[in-house]
């Protein structure tokens, strides 16, 4: 039996310990905010925060995070008002929106690590997250806005 804490709630799993965290979250725990984009840690759509680090849930097994604290987009802020989320709305970042949960989690993790990133640091830190609609300019601006006070 593997135990994990997701958004503050204890969850357990007694199936395949190699099951990627992504599919546990989406299909078993019903937390569909975390998205499947590539399955190979190439696009960042599945980014969640494990303890204080951004992690790609698609290549992280449920066993790898046993006993750890996982935060998904649903648990980032009780009202959805994390500074990154607010900045995202002020800048009207999303087009289709599918990659945005991963982008937001990556940005939140970046700001935990580096509260005042430069534009270059933002571009570098966010480059693991693909947006096919091409919202990069707005993502960069939203992260900057979140870091300077929404």
């Amino acid at each position: 039996m593997i135990k994990v804490k997701i958004n503050g709630q204890e969850q357990s799993w007694d199936g395949d310990p190699d099951l990627p965290l992504l599919w546990f979250l989406r299909d078993e725990a019903g937390l569909t905010g975390t998205k499947f984009g590539c399955g190979q840690a190439l696009c960042g759509a599945c980014t969640v925060i494990v303890d204080k680090e951004a992690v790609r849930a698609c290549i992280t097994s449920i066993n790898d995070v046993a006993g750890r604290e996982i935060t998904t987009i649903e648990g980032l802020h009780p009202n959805g008002d994390h500074p990154v989320q607010k900045a995202w709305r002020q800048v009207n970042v999303p087009q289709c929106g599918f990659c945005q949960a991963g982008q937001i989690m990556q940005a939140a993790a970046l700001l935990m690590d580096n509260p005042k990133p430069s534009h270059d640091q933002i571009r570098e830190a966010m480059s693991g997250n693909i947006c096919r609609c091409g919202c990069y300019q707005r993502i960069e601006n939203a992260v900057h806005l979140a870091s300077t006070g929404v």
């Binding site: 099951l19 995202w88 009207n92 999303p94």
Partner: protein, 770 residues
């Protein structure tokens, strides 16, 4: 217009408008909607148009009926149906916003509800071709005006005053003579009893009184849900008892399953079943490819199970497809005469007599869509009834195809349209929904079919592959007197029927035969090309290779004559005029020429605007270069300037992009800007990396590692967007697709300016490093 340079301007943008499920009860109490949306609403004639569009010629045309699209609840909540699919363009917000504007509804009290697939009821729902705003601006205004008129009539009756004395203002109807007011909610029941006014008699608002349209102050309705993980895409649908499936499909288009061994797959924890999926012979429009499905309790188990399958395939006739060899065939075909599809003057003679001939042969490979959400669908088939939940651009078409595939009446199929995690044309093809329907029928349970990224890259309906060869003949003064353009590319028609060898009118009309330059001798030719894989629409379609070739050639002519790119471009466009190409069956994006001519004044205008705002001719540092390109597509006009920097190792960066678009009358300039910003990213993506190759009939790429798309660290540092203010009667035109085509040629013209290297073969790859 640049919304991003001044983020403080965007403060307060966030509106607390949310999309919620509306209960049937509140709808029933609403504006004349009876029987839960099932009513025999008369489709009214629409003669009151200020201009004609091709909307009526689309399958099922247009329905203008407030009882179908609008409901007012007693509490005043106005529900407006969005009948087109949301894939990131903002259409799910902008079409209902038009209705709200015209009916004087307060947007903060509006809820948007997604319509299911039913084109008889809602009119055409194909969300493609950059058509939604241009086909629906006037119908949505008429729907809103009808609803407003019914509310006003109800209020006038209540007060016993002539309807001419009352006026709807911001969610109320007002009788100013007596200072009486009634809220929309208070009038809902009575308004529902009013007859629907004739369209001819409707009074539309004066645009100067618009509160929302053209302002760009309203954020998309899904914004809050997207940022909190609540927005529901196709993959997010969960039903009780639902099974999870992935499918192993034939690696070669048209291939067949010979045998499979399910034993190892069945041993994977969580795998419940392995079963064959019916496939159709190629080509068969959007029918499934067939293969073997692994059914499991979660997607992870299904994928692991599929990896364990032992499969034997018969690759069939396309097993020889090799993109390197095929490219040579296309190039050779482009060097010989082909079917003449436009002829003016005598291009052969003029080329023979030319002082100088500039030749360019341009190659653009297959491209995959790779929307961030791979194809996915949920189906629940019970007996002769089917319910589908899927991210489809064509809900009506999906309904038809599901009915046909299952052999049940269309009326028994419900297609629920989720948000689309990107579409770009891929999700106009509903094969993934058909797979889910077939599996659910056989399993007797709801099932979700999830495509992996590898499935998406390997089994896409790809953008075609093409060689575009242009020969421009110049006289002694440097004036272009002859133009021969041969376009060789497999047609999308090949996906619908075997044997298509020439491009269809809708493909020829995308930048080949509609070429707007003022040249005396023009020949456009279309040599034969066969398809060996599934070809489909990709955002901007044939405009991508055409604009790349034509606008690169402008740069080549500028160089050959020692003139400025922009001046060369304007000289080629020539005098302000309406271009009427000598072409049989000329296709104009489905639009009548009277409303949507090829207008070189507008083409010149976007060039001049982008040159002014984008500071064409500015001094740039060493190693930098500027390039310009213009293109008309989806009946819009768009010009782009790209600045590049190439370092001594050949590393490319893009410091700045400027784009000017004239898309006529617009609804939401903020979303137009976002489309154009995104188009620059997609344009740079395809120019730098975009290439799907084939060997032994199989796609050689699989995921974002070998089919790369642009990432943030290489994206343009700034993209500025300028929107041409529309004239009073300028019809709306496309905004979703036009941004892509001019990007690659502007980029290559800029690279030439910076380095002297002319890139004619896409993608750029490592060509600058040599």
């Amino acid at each position: 217009m640049n919304f991003i340079d001044n983020p403080e301007k965007l403060r307060g943008f966030e509106k607390n408008v949310r999309v919620e499920k509306v209960s049937r009860r509140s709808i029933l109490k609403g504006l004349g909607i009876t029987g839960g949306f099932v009513l025999a609403a008369p489709v009214m004639s629409r003669q009151a148009f200020a201009y004609e569009t091709g909307a009526d010629k689309m399958p099922h045309g247009v329905v203008v009926d407030p009882r179908v699209f609008v409901a007012v609840a007693p509490d005043g909540t106005v529900t407006i149906l969005a009948h087109r699919a949301e894939m990131g363009t903002g259409v799910r917000t902008s079409l209902p916003l038009i209705v709200a504007e015209e009916m004087e509804a307060d947007w903060s009290r509006v809820k948007v509800q997604q319509a299911h697939g039913d084109e008889v009821k809602f009119g055409n729902q194909d969300t493609d071709g950059s058509r939604s705003t241009r086909h629906y601006l006037i119908p949505m205004r008429q729907i809103g005006a009808s609803a407003r008129t019914m509310l006003e009539q109800a209020a006038a009756k209540r007060w016993g005053v002539p309807a001419t004395e009352v006026k709807a203002v911001n969610h109320e109807v007002v009788h100013s003579a007596t200072s009486r007011k009634l809220g929309f909610g208070e009038l809902a029941a009575d308004a529902a009893k009013e007859s629907v006014p004739s369209i001819e008699g409707l009074k539309l608002k004066d645009p100067k009184d618009f509160r929302y349209l053209g302002k760009g102050q309203i954020s998309i309705v899904d914004l809050h849900d997207i940022t909190t993980g609540k927005a529901r895409y196709g993959a997010d649908v969960r039903l009780p008892g639902m099974k999870y499936a992935v499918i192993a499909r034939p690696p070669v288009t048209g291939g067949k399953l010979v045998s499979f061994d399910p034993d190892a797959a069945l041993k994977v924890p969580g795998v419940e079943k392995v079963m064959q999926v019916r496939g159709w012979p190629w080509p068969s429009k959007f029918q499934p490819l067939g293969g073997v499905a692994v059914i499991a309790r979660n997607t992870g188990a299904a994928i692991k199970g599929r990896d364990a399958l032992k499969l034997t395939w018969d690759d069939g006739a396309n097993g020889k497809y090799d993109s390197v060899a095929y490219r040579k065939e296309l190039e050779e075909a482009s060097r010989k005469p082909g079917l003449v599809v436009r002829q003016e003057g005598d291009a052969d003679a003029a080329l023979k007599g030319a002082d100088k001939i500039v030749v360019g042969e341009y190659y653009l490979p297959h491209l995959a869509h790779v929307s961030m959400e791979p194809p996915v669908a949920v189906a629940d088939v019970k007996g002769d009834k089917a319910e589908i939940w899927a991210p489809v651009q064509s809900p009506g078409g999906t309904r038809e195809d599901v009915a046909k595939t299952l052999g049940i009446p269309e009326g028994n199929v419900t297609v629920n349209v989720t948000l689309l995690g990107g579409g770009f044309g891929r999700k106009s093809k509903c094969d993934f929904a058909l797979e889910a329907a077939l599996l659910s029928k056989e399993l007797g349970a709801p099932v979700k079919v999830q495509w992996t990224r590898e499935d998406d890259v390997r089994h896409d309906f790809l953008h075609t592959v093409s060689v575009e060869r242009i020969e421009a003949g110049l006289d002694k003064s440097g004036k272009v007197i002859a133009w021969r353009h041969r376009s060789v590319a497999p047609s999308i028609a090949s996906t619908f029927a075997a044997g298509a060898k020439h491009e269809a009118p809708f493909e020829l009309g995308m930048g080949l035969v509609d070429m707007p330059f003022e040249i005396a001798n023009i020949s456009c030719e279309n040599p034969e090309a066969a398809a060996f894989t599934r070809i489909g629409w990709f955002r901007s379609v044939s405009n991508i290779p055409r604009a790349f070739a034509v606008q690169s050639m402008v740069g080549e002519i500028a160089h050959a004559t020692g003139r400025d790119q922009k001046e060369t471009l304007l000289a080629l466009i020539g005098t302000p005029r309406i271009v009427k190409p000598a072409v049989k069956d000329m296709w104009n994006y489905g639009e009548p020429f009277d409303s949507y001519p090829i207008d070189t004044a507008r083409l010149r205008k976007v060039v001049e605007l982008v040159a002014e705002k984008g500071e064409w001719g500015r001094q740039v540092p060493k190693g930098h270069g500027l390039g310009i390109a213009v293109h008309r597509s989806f009946v819009s006009y768009i010009a782009t300037i790209v600045e590049v920097a190439v370092d001594d190792k050949g590393k490319l960066t893009v410091p700045r992009v400027d784009t000017a678009i004239d898309c006529g009358t617009y609804v939401n300039p903020e979303r137009i800007a976002s489309q154009i910003e995104g188009a620059a990213i997609m344009g740079l993506s395809l120019a730098k990396y975009g290439e799907i190759t084939f060997k032994d009939g199989k796609v050689q790429q699989k995921n974002f590692d070998d089919f790369q798309v642009l990432r943030m660290d290489e994206s343009p540092l700034v993209t500025n967007v300028y929107i041409v203010p529309p004239g009073p009667d300028t019809p709306p035109s496309g905004a979703g697709e036009p941004g892509v085509p001019p990007f690659a040629p502007a980029l290559m013209n800029a690279i030439f300016a910076a380095t002297g290297k002319r890139i004619r073969n896409l993608p750029l790859g490592k060509q600058l490093e040599a």
